[in-house]
């Protein structure tokens, strides 16, 4: 439902965009005023929002997301070519961000030392103050992996939640009893930290993926990475609404899948 409504909003944007109703035949002197009016009426009727959306959706179900105005290529082909680049950057970046967040949250919670806690919290705060795009530019010019820039942008945004989860778990009676019994640290981590909060970790991973995608657009655009983020930026600059519409549909679908997955895991728990 979310995808359908998101798609409708995107189709409405295309349908009511400036210039959609403009027909090049208007300036053709061979057509009379009556013919032009008849053509205009037909165009209006054929492109009413419900009809336009129905046609768009039917084509989308068959893999046809339309043609990009600026790049003169099918939108589906453009997405297919660029998706792997974005998936790699986003996947590694989000994973790195979650691992960094977990590491710093562990430093803040586990050793119970004020100095280490301040260090972890300050690191998160400092990274939060840097625009992700600036971070990416620094990595780009230093020829460092851009996924690390995504990771550093994601890390402070998940740090607080991971810290809260860890604080809850580390004060749980089960974990305290296990520590008192002398259970090893790896076993403690797996049995009393990872396993009980697995749904929360998965839901957080979904949120981190969505967050990461938000950072991907400026990072890919500024660092010349040929992914979906750069495509979205180019589409916005060139006002390529069919491309933006296709991107909106696909991105809404992907995000809805991630969120639904998180909700299903949560409901099962």
């Amino acid at each position: 439902m979310v995808v359908l409504i998101g798609g409708l909003a995107a189709a409405a944007l295309v349908r009511f965009s400036p210039g959609f109703d403009v027909d090049e035949n208007t300036w053709n002197p061979q057509f009379s005023a009556a013919t032009l009016e008849a053509m205009h009426n037909t165009h209006e009727r054929e492109n009413s929002l419900p009809r336009f959306y129905y046609r768009y959706l039917r084509a989308a179900l068959h893999g046809d997301l339309g043609q990009s105005d600026s790049l003169k290529q099918p939108v589906a082909d453009l997405l297919r070519d660029r998706a792997p680049v974005t998936a790699r950057l986003l996947g590694w970046g989000t994973l790195g961000g979650l691992l960094l967040g977990a590491l710093f949250a562990w430093i803040a919670v586990w050793p119970r030392r004020a100095g280490l806690e301040i260090l972890a919290v300050s690191s998160g705060g400092l990274m939060l103050a840097i625009p992700p795009a600036v971070l990416a530019l620094a990595f780009f010019f230093e020829e460092a992996p851009l996924s690390l820039a995504v990771a550093l942008a994601v890390f402070p945004r998940v740090f607080g939640t991971i810290r809260a989860i860890l604080e809850d778990l580390f004060t749980s009676p089960a974990l305290l009893a296990a520590r008192a019994r002398g259970v090893g640290p790896v076993s403690l981590a797996l049995r009393y930290v990872v396993a009980p909060a697995l749904p929360q970790w998965l839901a957080l991973a979904g949120v981190a993926l969505v967050l990461g995608f938000g950072f991907i657009i400026p990072i890919e655009a500024l660092c010349d990475v040929p992914g979906i983020g750069q495509l979205a930026w180019k589409a916005a600059l060139s006002r390529d609404l069919p491309l933006l519409c296709g991107l909106a549909l696909i991105i809404t679908f992907a995000v809805a899948c991630v969120q639904t997955f998180g909700e299903i895991i949560g409901a099962k728990q």
Partner: protein, 261 residues
């Protein structure tokens, strides 16, 4: 820690005052061009040097502070007001609507809306539209929090008692519900301001934020795309430094609120 927060507050007030008093403090107008001195190094005439078309970087930074420090809170306020209005007016489908809005990454939603603007939009209107769109695009976050708070309130005993006593819905909203929602709205406002400052910076870097000749922290950061300029004039990093300082101050104040709540 208390002293740190006091310093953060003082710094924020000073930076806001710097922006508010920009015409009095800045030696030149933000769009004054000195064609005899493009890319001038820092010196007595231009404290931070000039950009590639001969505009004083220091003056532009001060005017940029005014725009960013004034309009980010305005956009946050717009989001809060819009979210409250939608929560008050929409009885059904609010949850689905917020889910849809939150399903798209915010920046993507924004660039779609930005692409719809006519090309002939002037700089001042464009600034208002940029921050206005931020406000509109960001309504769903506070709306979700307000929905949860209103849901909790509906279950509360005092509301049932007020209803049973025959108090009008308007009075319940104004006298009983608003004091509860006000603290939530303030917390959301404090979360949204830094988020919008950072968003404007990212959009400015992409060329989708405040358009030239008006300066903002975001469009001043565009010089960072040229490492040779950064190496020759490190003052180019000043907008980034100021932005980070403001963000750190806001974070410190935010953590103070969290502790006190």
């Amino acid at each position: 820690m208390k002293r740190m927060r006091l310093i953060a507050m003082i710094l924020l007030v000073l930076i806001a005052a710097l922006g508010a008093l920009a015409p009095a403090i800045a030696p030149y107008s933000y769009d004054a061009q000195f064609r005899d001195a493009p890319d001038a190094p820092p010196g007595p005439r231009f404290r931070m040097g000039t950009d590639e078309i001969g505009r004083d970087r220091f003056s532009r930074l001060i005017y940029a502070t005014r725009i960013s420090m004034l309009l980010a809170p305005a956009a946050a306020l717009a989001s809060i007001v819009l979210a409250l209005a939608i929560c008050a007016l929409l009885k059904y489908g609010l949850s689905a609507l917020t889910t849809i809005c939150l399903s798209l990454p915010w920046i993507f939603l924004f660039i779609i809306m930005r692409a719809e603007l006519p090309l002939s939009t002037g700089p001042v209107v464009s600034v208002a539209l940029t921050f206005g769109l931020m406000g509109v695009a960001g309504w769903a976050w506070p709306a979700r929090v307000f929905t949860a708070s209103i849901g909790d309130m509906k279950q509360s005993g005092w509301l049932m008692q007020a209803r049973a006593a025959g108090i009008s819905p308007l009075r319940i909203a104004r006298v009983y519900a608003w004091p509860h929602l006000r603290s939530v709205a303030l917390a959301q406002f404090r979360v949204l301001v830094p988020a919008y400052i950072l968003s404007e910076a990212s959009l400015g870097l992409l060329g989708l934020g405040v358009p030239d000749p008006l300066p903002s922290w975001g469009n001043l950061l565009r010089d960072l795309q040229h490492p040779d300029i950064v190496r020759s004039n490190p003052w180019v990093l000043a907008p980034l430094g100021l932005l980070m300082l403001v963000m750190l101050c806001l974070e410190l104040l935010q953590s103070q609120r969290e502790v006190s709540l």
